[in-house]
Amino acid sequence: MKKNLKKTTDYEEKSEKEHVIKLNPKIYPLALVFKAAYILIDTAYIVVDGDPESELLVFIRSKGDVDAKTLAERFNDELINFSVYESQSKKNAVLRQEYLKRALLTNITKTDDDYIEDKEGIFVPWEEKYG
């Protein structure tokens, strides 16, 4: 288990304020990395580097008092959150579409052609009415 973990995510502490996370892009794609990074931009400075095909490097630098290791762990949590969300969303895509179809269909109601009441005979042409 530990061996596998090291292949997907690897930490390297540069200083108390800086941390580098190495990620396997086949497990955490670039789009997912950016989503997780976006969550942290209020508390950290983040730069993504590396090779999108083989290894992504995420540099995290703390903005305030929070140490970089804590931020790196939070980043990892966000990565897991987003990857679970993505996989669940893929799984439920068909079901979601069916719900949407059903919801749209229930709003379609049958209407009669002669639903307008013409009590005063306004819609009757002049020729028909008076010859």
Binding site: F34, Y38, I41, Y45, I46, V47, R61
Partner: protein, 74 residues
């Protein structure tokens, strides 16, 4: 961070074009033009208009790029 070098009056940023596309970088340069003079020739060289910004402007630029990538602005 190895990608960001802070000098006396400027900041140099080296970004991977496979990760940050050029349109997003151009948009960020345009948006930062009010607070800094920015040149791009392989590297991005930022000269802030106020010297007190020099410590953080490079990092803020990188965070801004992440924001642009997320909002899908090109």
């Amino acid at each position: 961070m190895d990608n960001i070098q802070i000098n006396a009056s400027s900041v140099q940023i080296m970004l991977n074009p496979e990760i940050y596309n050029s349109l997003i970088i151009k948009q960020a340069i345009k948006d930062f033009s009010g607070v800094a003079d920015i040149k791009q020739n392989g590297k991005i060289i930022i000269v802030p208009k106020e010297k007190k910004d020099i410590e953080n402007i490079g990092y803020e630029f990188c965070n801004y790029l992440i924001g642009l990538v997320q909002s899908g602005q090109t």
